[in-house]
Symmetry: C2
Subunit: 77 residues, 2 copies
């Protein structure tokens, strides 16, 4: 079983890395770019069935900073 965890900054939090990407793309001539935001994805290979409560625990304690980040857990067979 595999869990895919998407971690992104909360909407209200400024994302300087995303801003840098957007500005670099514009400088390179990609004028259609309005804004960009960067997040991370963590793929976890699990033995046995994934337990969503335990995965949420992993996110809260290690993988994400719940103060400034949101996360989404996706379980794939």
């Amino acid at each position: 079983m595999k869990a895919i965890i998407h971690v992104s900054l909360k909407k209200a939090i400024l994302d300087p890395q995303g801003k840098a990407i957007a500005s670099a793309l514009k400088t390179m001539g990609f004028d259609e770019v309005e804004d960009a935001r960067q997040g991370k994805v963590i793929e976890i290979m699990l033995n046995g069935k994934g337990d969503e409560a335990r995965l949420r625990d992993m996110c809260d304690r290690l993988l994400a900073n719940p103060v400034i980040e949101d996360y989404k857990i996706e379980l794939v067979a």
Copy 2:
């Protein structure tokens, strides 16, 4: 229009950050974890319709390192 770009290390490339995550989770008692890999997601807000060829160009030139990374482009309305 929004483009979501998933960038991940190629399968054959060692991912030390993923290994660190897996080992930290195991140390914390999450014994079901076998391995982990970390990638990034870039959300790009576009004005007008997203052109996939131009998005591929952005990936090859700035967002991913095609030598060691794979990317996947997803267009969302």
